[in-house]
Amino acid sequence: MRNFMKSAALVAALCTSGTVQAQEDITITLVPGLTTDAFYITMNRGAQAAADALGITVDFQGAEEFDPVLQTPVLDAVIARGPDAILIAPTDTTQMIEPLRRAHDAGITVVTVDTFIDDGKYQDGAGDGDFPMAYVASDNVGGGRMAARFMAEAIGGEGQVYVSNVRPGISTTDQREEGFKAEMAENFPSVTVLDTQYNENDASLAASQFSAVLARNPDIKGVFGANLFSALGAGNGVEGAGKADDVTVIAFDAPQSIVDNISSGLVDAAIAQHPAEIGYFGVMAAYAVLTGNSVPVSIGTGFTVINAGNVDDPEITKFIYSE
């Protein structure tokens, strides 16, 4: 939240300074990681809100799967249309550098949202993918730390927990796990984090893995599901073992199905990102660059913890990703 306020203030300051040019001509295209995901659909809603506020046009064009091989042709077609700026969630840190360089070479401003290329640190003269103007995203490491603090509190500061994750090599889910483990190691030494279990986005496998971890470690206290299917599977495993009262399940992300599982008690809490905020400030950052203003190269957006106590609060439900 502190990050959010800071970036909000920064962008607001940037937008009021500088001269506004023929704004109705500005077009920006948002290329999500995939088009069929509530997270990116919500992000687009934030981007459209910014577009309305600025009186510019924002298009939404992407592939149906999170895959650089599918994202590149979409990106090429977008470049051919020649928007002023492209907001993109790159589907691979390395493979998307060259395709995006073509946009940069064509004079299109590039801003990455949610995921990044290269090392994620732009305009510092280091690395091949240094040309994007800004990176707008949740601080996934921070989100993982938040999940760890919430978990530690729920289990009384001690015991065994593990991370249920998708597969190694996805920047965002890797960072959540990294943050979770770092926070536990630094501030909750009595909590033991067991080996991570990778489920390939298969909730059934995630459930079976929970059963096996439980069989091996009967005193297991909690599971951190790093994405939707990891959390759904772990929650089902917990329920199947009749351990709903003993094992805490914390989910990352807040699509409707996770929220329903919080209501039913299968999942104890969810760390919700603010995708609409990412879309909003992504557009604002691109607009600032196009109108001759400088922008921070990294803009971090916030998180909200959703649990059984606040899941019906309208101030909280606005952070549920909607379809």
Partner: protein, 332 residues
């Protein structure tokens, strides 16, 4: 030809290899668990229940697929037929309102299976009537079923709140989890169909030599259509079980399981060229995969070994399949 006598000795050994392999890995994990933690791996109801549930989810995709592969075809579309059924069932339950009774849930299941049958009919039409190779045709319907599932679900996972659906996925009958009962009954039905009916005889014959079956006056087109419908239905039941287990229908529910299902069928002794394979073998194959997945976690081996192990089992299965064909001179 000259290896005929050798083949007669080797054949039973090869048909039993999957049993031997399953017993071998169970023994390995039992010994490992006892040596490392002093716990038993095998003799715990909870472990066996968990493994059986995981195997059932794989099996529901693999059962109908076995019949299709025995007939010398393949059905890749089941990966998303499962997702389509899961999403359709969830949508119908959701549309019925918050207090759904069993009637509504059963109705939703029937609609989910109907969606699967549509995919099966489409596969049958492409392969039997239009003579599209099944690998290509079902790859096409794989995409269509996926798109269909995503479209009806609006791109998201459809969550439901229904105690009945939940007990279908998570309850038990006399201590046996419902998904295991469902998969077991379907396995018995498929086994009966394949071994005790003319339909089964024709299925094996179709995989071994299509021309001779046609000459014998069997309606091959209709037979193929039925096979693809059965395959779609068992995969569709997999989707219903998924929605029950996770209180959510996901379009990609079956996608990661497709590979395991194909592996289970081949581990179970089916051949890429058709004419071979049994339901018993496929059941063993599904259990081998589920035992490895559970056992590696239980044994506390580093998680990356799970990828290696499942990959190795698939390669071993295909190698055994090939050498079996060579040694028994079955490649005709």
């Amino acid at each position: 030809m000259s290896t005929n006598t050798g083949a007669s000795i080797l054949k039973p050994l090869f048909s039993a290899w999957s049993w031997i392999f399953l017993i071998g890995i169970l023994a390995f994990f039992e010994l490992y668990a006892r040596a490392e933690t002093g716990q038993t791996f095998l003799f715990r109801i909870y472990n066996m229940q968990s493994i059986a549930i995981a195997a059932s989810q794989i099996l529901l995709l693999a059962l109908g697929l076995t019949l299709v592969i025995v007939a010398g075809q393949i059905d890749l579309s089941i990966g998303f037929t499962t997702g389509l059924s899961a999403v359709v069932m969830a949508l119908v339950v959701r549309a019925m309102g918050p207090d759904t009774g069993w009637g509504a849930v059963i109705m939703a299941m029937m609609v989910g299976i109907f969606a699967a049958v549509v995919v099966g009919l489409l596969n049958g039409w492409l392969v039997a009537i239009l003579n599209v190779p099944s690998f290509i045709g079902t790859l096409g319907t794989y995409g269509i079923a996926r798109g269909g599932a995503l479209i009806v679900a609006g791109g998201a996972t459809v969550s439901i709140r229904s105690d009945e659906a939940r007990s279908f996925g998570n309850g038990d009958i006399l201590g046996i989890p419902v998904p295991v009962v469902v998969a077991g009954l379907l396995a018995l039905a498929c086994h009966y169909l394949l071994t005790h009916t003319r339909f089964g005889v024709h299925t094996y014959a179709l995989g071994a030599n299509r021309a001779s079956v046609e000459r014998a006056g069997v309606n091959v087109k209709r037979h193929l259509i039925w096979l693809f419908i059965i395959s779609a239905v068992t995969a569709g039941v997999g989707g219903l079980v998924y929605t029950g287990r996770f209180s959510a229908g996901a379009a990609n529910a079956g996608e990661p399981i497709l590979l395991y299902a194909v592996a289970a069928v081949f581990i179970g002794g089916a051949s890429l060229t058709g004419g071979q394979g049994t339901i018993t073998g496929t059941v063993i194959g599904a259990f081998i995969i589920a035992v490895i997945q559970f056992g590696l976690v239980f044994s506390g081996l580093p998680p990356y070994w799970q990828f290696v192990a499942v990959g190795l089992v698939i390669i071993v299965a295909v190698l055994v399949d090939q050498s079996k064909d060579k040694l028994t001179g079955a490649q005709s």
